[in-house]
């Protein structure tokens, strides 16, 4: 009987080029010097492929910082690049890191926020604003105000409502103007779907002292939990992020916070917006990017310091988002005594 020849067990099934091994070893050394690696993060059997070991350590690091997330799904992608072949240019091997979040889908936030607003005027607004502020500094999420900006970008020529777009398209023809208004997304639809405070406005948010008092006095544990989440979010010192430095439109949102079961507007606007952006090809998905020297352990340690703070923000944001979208907020529950 004929048998197919087998390969001797000493023939390797994979080869790792010397350049790759050296690059991996050098980066592992930088991580060690940066203080990112500790014994608990090392895999039981470190791979001969040093980059895989680095990946395992870094994955362990972010899981330790972000353990227990229920909504947000952050990702990080690091690429090691060689320095410029031209020594005179002085360009050293670098590490380009990008991060962002995969979408958790569409969740309803209206019942919870309206319940908070009923509990105390401006409480729902304060919670929403705090969530938005932290999201823009960590993992952006579509909220009513962001969706209205998308509508402005998609339908209204960047204006606050549809009047300019209708003027441009129809001139003085009243019948045509009315017909166009009937067929498009209008500002009135936003006003009918969301309370005014969810779309922006100039009202001041509640201060921390007021929030602490409200949390202390709340007899509904859900309201108390939400306020405590907000206080934790406010306590995280997150630097502002200058989105204007990025080219194109950002589309890597980590989820959609629609208002309620009757909110068809959010998905309609976002479908049109994402189609428009997709066709333009002028967009980006990662929330952040940075380039560090692959051998610069001081810079890398600084970046991980930033990341630790970022993770604290993400954890607090995740918890707040979860509490606002979990359970039935249409009934008012009271805590037992």
């Amino acid at each position: 009987m004929l048998t197919l020849p087998s390969l001797d067990a000493r023939i390797p099934h994979k080869l790792v080029p010397q350049t790759s091994r050296r690059r991996g070893a050098a980066f592992a050394r930088t991580l060690l010097r940066a203080g990112v690696v500790d014994a608990a993060l090392l895999p039981p059997r470190p791979s001969a492929d040093h980059l895989r070991t680095c990946q395992s350590v870094l994955e362990g690091w972010v899981r330790r910082e972000l353990g227990g997330l229920r909504m947000l799904r952050p990702y990080f992608a690091m690429q090691l690049r060689d320095g410029d072949a031209d020594v005179a240019s002085g360009q050293q091997p670098s590490c380009v890191v990008e991060w962002g979040g995969e979408s958790f889908g569409v969740r309803m936030v209206g019942p919870a926020l309206e319940s908070l607003e009923r509990h105390r005027p401006r409480l729902g607004m304060t919670v929403l604003r705090t969530l938005e502020r932290c999201a823009w500094r960590t993992l952006p999420i579509y909220t009513p105000a962001v969706v209205m900006e998308c509508a402005s970008d998609t339908y209204w020529y960047g204006e606050f409502d549809e009047d300019m777009a209708i003027e441009e398209a129809c001139g003085d023809d009243a019948a045509e103007r009315e017909s166009m208004r009937q067929g498009m997304v209008t500002r009135a639809m936003f006003n009918a779907t969301f309370p005014a405070w969810a779309l922006g406005g100039r009202a001041r948010s509640l201060g921390r002292r007021t929030l602490r008092q409200l949390a202390h006095a709340a007899d509904d544990h859900r309201i108390r939990d939400v306020i405590e989440c907000v206080l934790r979010l406010l306590a995280v010192d997150l630097p502002d992020y200058d989105w204007s430095l990025r080219e194109g439109r950002f589309v890597g949102f980590s989820g959609v916070l629609a208002w309620g079961p009757k909110d068809d507007l959010t998905t309609r606007v976002l479908d049109d917006y994402e189609q428009m952006v997709g066709e333009s090809g002028d967009y980006f998905e990662p929330c952040g990017e940075d380039t560090l020297g692959a051998a610069d352990h001081v810079a890398l340690a600084g970046w991980f310091g930033f990341l630790r703070n970022w993770c604290a923000g993400v954890k607090a944001l995740d918890e707040l988002t979860y509490r606002l979208t979990d359970g039935d907020w249409t009934t008012h529950k009271r805590g037992g005594r």
Binding site: L4, P5, S6, L7, A9, I11, P12, H13, K14, L15, V16, P17, T19, S20, R22, R23, G24, F27, D49, L51, R52, C54, Q55, L58, E59, W61, V62, R63, L66, G67, G68, L69, R70, M71, L72, R73, P74, Y75, F76, A77, M78, Q79, L80, R81, D82, A85, D86, V87, E102, F104, R107, T325, D326
Partner: protein
């Protein structure tokens, strides 16, 4: 709503050549004379790790040529430094003209007047060579002319260099690649490291008092110009040395 812990991804990738997996096998049949035939086979790998060569198909000359081109693929061309004197698939050699530059000694016995000494001194013309196996050599040449195949070689008068000219690397950080663009980095790696002890049994320099006396005098400034008369002729030309695969490791 799911209360499961979502996955958090952290990927680390790299630019350039990465891991290669066993993909195919080529079996070569040879008869008497020059007759030969080759077949290409896919490889099946089982979960246990055992691999089997699957039935194959004849390898055409065109496929062999295409594979050969891929295997020969090197970096795209660029400007060639005028100090580059030799380059093929196995070695790269370059010339460093005579000149003054710092040199660093760390001799535990204090044979040079102190345990650690450094001065800017004159050096002879040098030829460095790095092979594809990352063996690294240096020889001295006489005069200030760019060397050619017929140029006579002399023993490089430095510590930590074996008789063949191979440089003891120790823990010196070397450039990742041996390419024409990196020759300055390789040269700096040589001069910016500590010289600690002679690595040759025979004469390193023809100097009364020996090699320690020679370098002590150099460091003390007794020879503003490098005294080429001290160089030891190794009775080989540059062409001999490069074409014989740059000698053998003799550690």
């Amino acid at each position: 709503m799911s209360a499961q812990q979502p996955g958090i991804k952290f990927t680390v990738t790299e630019e350039g050549p990465t891991e290669m997996r066993l993909h195919r096998a080529i079996l070569v049949y040879a008869g008497k004379g020059s007759a030969s035939f080759a077949t290409v086979h896919d490889i099946a790998t089982e979960s246990s790790g055992a691999a089997t060569i699957l039935p194959g198909r004849p390898m055409t000359a065109f496929a062999a040529l295409r594979l050969a081109r891929r295997l020969m693929k090197r970096r795209e061309g660029g400007f060639i430094p005028d100090r580059l004197v030799f380059q093929d698939s196995t070695a790269l050699a370059w010339w460093v003209p005579p000149g003054r530059r710092p040199i660093w000694f760390r001799c535990a016995g204090g044979e040079l007047g102190a345990v650690e000494r450094s001065e800017v001194v004159s050096h002879p013309g040098l030829v460095f060579c790095v092979t594809s196996a990352r063996k690294w050599y240096v020889w001295a040449v006489s005069g200030g002319e760019r060397p050619s195949s017929d140029t006579r070689l002399y023993r490089a008068p430095y510590f930590n260099v074996w008789e063949s000219g191979q440089i003891c690397v120790g823990n010196v950080e070397l450039p990742e690649r041996a390419t024409a663009e990196k020759i300055d980095a390789w040269t700096s790696a040589f001069f910016d490291s500590w010289f600690t002890h002679p690595n040759v049994q025979s004469e390193l320099v023809a100097y009364v008092g020996g090699v320690y006396r020679f370098w002590r005098d150099m460091l003390d400034g007794k020879h503003p110009e490098f005294p080429e008369r001290v160089l030891v002729d190794i009775d080989r030309t540059l062409g001999d040395m490069l074409l014989s695969q740059a000698g053998k490791h003799d550690d």
